[in-house]
């Protein structure tokens, strides 16, 4: 596909969203903020979007540092790009209801890879803002937060804003390093140099997660040797069955290590980093293979992760976890300890979900959190602003085919396995109602009417299969349906088992 030219220029119009009072304030202008703003707009919920940046894109303006993303946007997919289900094959495009605003990332890709470059991603996000008409007040930095009688006050570099509900879509945007003596000498992943700066060098990378492998993969052709050091063995996505492991796209260094070609992966806890005349000396202690290690390297990079820039929110009582890097959130991405404060985008991974079979939510990535934003916008509308979202009804005979179709191809369920569910409620007076997509955790833990929730799950063996959770008289039971080698869940056997699980639930 051709890359479209796009122009960016200084605007002469007054910046939108002057200081004042708004029902909702979204902080950020990355993918998470844009997505939640889009859905709030679609629902007619007035809001301001404030960002310290000077243009949209957030993390994608600068990362991945070596250019290409690790999530796919497949130009040739089993379904058409303008179909609702195409989003499963395109993890990088923000969701939109209008076909003209869908599948934007593949539109900007050259077609030489199904992983977009950072520039292609950046262009698609800019186009999303332009085409959907979203507004952001750029250059407006959120600096402080306080509770008010009916909401919150945000102090910014442009003045004070008041709102009923703040939504922080500030990403996992702040470089994070563990406490190690001398680590201040080590540049973070975010500060890694251009590829040529590492030519002929012995590079040591602190970390063995995806960002560490991204660097190793990019620098494999130029480095003399690469050593990756972290306390635990490498966890691969193909073993974890989730994006929590290192993505296969970056696994050439792993093979190099296995074949003994100049990449070394050490399970060791680093205790000291020292500058030397030639570069660095790292002292570490082996973990899975005990022993002391002293390693000399020409260059070191800390690929040790990120943290969410939570500003002064901890001062309001915001609970955090994951070594103080993530806010603890309810299934609807609200702080568990500061009611009324919500999160969108990558920080939404603070809502854990059921983590069935160890598979976490996919909310740390755009492919997952974009779906959360749709759910969050509707939740805010209905909870705070009197929105009555449309809910289609179904006939009993439509339920089994609908659920199996959703499990087979709905992007929400595939991008957010065991986490987002299609929910149908059953009521004698109202019939069968499609409640839309909801967090599975909310469905199984909160009281509610008789209902069924359908999800896609992946078990320990890596088998994908649908599962339904049926609530009757307040009790929820789990029913796991069979997998299928070609992921076809619309077989006679699936229909039979699902109908048996539902029993007489649908008899109105």
């Amino acid at each position: 596909m051709a890359v479209r030219a796009h122009r960016r220029g200084p605007s002469t119009a007054a910046p939108p969203f002057p200081p004042g009072t708004y029902p909702v304030i979204v902080v950020g202008s990355g993918a998470g903020a844009l997505q939640v703003s889009y859905f709030l707009t679609r629902l007619g919920i007035k809001h301001a979007v404030l960002s310290a940046d000077d243009r949209p894109g957030g993390m994608f303006r600068n990362f991945p540092i070596y250019q290409r993303l690790n999530t796919w946007s497949k130009p040739h997919a089993p379904v058409a790009p303008d179909s609702h289900h195409y989003a499963w094959y395109d993890w990088n495009t923000l969701l939109a209801d209008d076909p003209a605003h869908q599948a934007l990332v593949p539109e900007f890709m050259k077609g030489d890879s199904y992983f977009p470059t950072r520039a292609e991603m950046d262009a698609s996000l800019t186009a999303f803002v332009a085409r959907t008409g979203l507004s952001v007040r750029y250059g407006c930095r959120w600096e402080g937060t306080a509770r008010t009688e009916d909401g919150f006050l945000l102090r910014t570099s442009d003045g004070e804003y008041r709102c009923r509900v703040p939504v922080f879509a500030v990403g996992m945007a702040e470089p994070w390093k563990p406490v190690i003596a001398g680590i201040e000498h080590v540049p973070h992943y975010a500060e890694a140099l251009p590829t040529e700066a590492y030519a002929g060098k012995r590079l040591l990378i602190l970390g063995k997660r995806t960002s560490a492998f991204e660097i190793a993969d990019a620098l494999l052709p130029v480095c003399r040797e690469i050593i990756l050091v972290s306390p635990r063995p490498t966890l691969l996505s193909i073993n974890s069955h989730s994006t929590a492991g290192v993505r296969a796209r970056y696994l050439l260094p792993y093979e190099d290590h296995i074949l003994g070609g100049g990449v070394f992966m050490l399970d060791a806890a680093t205790s000291l980093v020292e500058r030397t005349a030639r570069g660095f000396r790292i002292t570490a202690a082996g973990t899975t293979r005990p022993g002391s290690l002293v390693l000399d390297a020409d260059a070191v990079v800390a690929a040790t992760g990120w943290t969410s820039p939570l500003g002064d929110l901890r001062g309001l009582g915001l609970a955090t976890f994951a070594q103080d890097r993530l806010p603890a959130l309810t299934p609807f991405w609200e702080s568990t300890t500061v009611p009324g404060i919500f999160f969108a985008g990558a920080a939404g991974q603070g809502a854990i979900g059921l983590r069935k079979h160890g598979v976490p939510s996919n909310s740390g990535g755009l492919g997952g959190f974009r779906h959360n934003s749709r759910v969050l916008a509707r939740y805010l509308g209905e909870t705070y602003f009197g929105l009555a979202a449309a809910r289609p009804t179904l006939q009993p005979a439509e339920v089994v085919p609908y659920i199996l179709s959703e499990a087979s191809r709905a992007a929400e369920l595939w991008n957010q396995r065991s986490y987002l569910a299609r929910v149908l409620t059953v009521d004698r007076a109202r019939g069968i109602t499609d409640e839309g997509i909801l967090p599975l955790q909310h469905f199984v833990d909160a009281p509610g009417p008789d209902a069924v929730a359908a999800v896609l799950e992946t078990d320990q063996s890596g088998d994908h299969h649908p599962a339904v959770y049926i609530r009757r008289d307040g009790r929820v039971s789990e029913h796991v349906l069979p997998g299928d080698p070609l992921l076809n869940f619309e077989t006679e056997e699936h229909r039979r088992q699902l109908a048996a699980a539902l029993g007489d639930l649908l008899q109105l």
Binding site: R232, A285, F321, R355, P360, S477
Partner: protein, 139 residues
């Protein structure tokens, strides 16, 4: 909220990890995920497949069977291991009685972890033996 150093110190204070060196404790910190649960939140769900192994760092949890709380768990206790080891859904809910901070290890990783950390496995067996003894005495 605890950072990495505080987490390492907290682990070192748990009986389960008492025999581990500092580097091996760091490996544990990198292997397990840390999670926090609000009061009233369920962590294990009776009858649901695919649960994980949890170790309590801070807070209390109730073990609830068919809606009746049978016992409580506190700092240093672990739960979910029976379900993980036997590959069966949990026979009880585990619910946070107040803010609960845990380490979690996916079921897929438990076997490798226990085989790779025999001292932890031994300590876990001791804890299971105590539970069995107290159950027997109770009868």
């Amino acid at each position: 909220m605890p950072g990495r150093e505080e987490l390492l110190d907290a682990l070192a204070g748990l009986a389960l990890f008492a025999d581990l060196s500092r580097p091996r404790l760091e490996e544990v910190v990198h292997t397990f995920e840390e999670e926090v649960f609000a009061e009233g939140q369920r962590i294990l769900r009776q009858g649901f497949s695919g649960s994980n192994l949890y170790i309590i760092l801070e807070g209390d949890a109730g073990v609830v069977i068919d809606g009746v709380q049978r016992t409580t768990l506190g700092k240093g206790d672990f739960f979910g291991e029976i379900s993980v080891l036997l590959g069966e859904p949990p026979a009880a809910d585990v619910v946070a009685l107040r803010t609960l901070r845990c380490l979690v290890l996916p079921a897929t990783d438990v076997q490798a972890f226990l085989l790779g950390h025999p001292h932890v496995t031994f300590r876990m067996l001791q804890a299971e033996a105590r539970r069995l003894r107290s159950t027997t005495l109770w009868r």
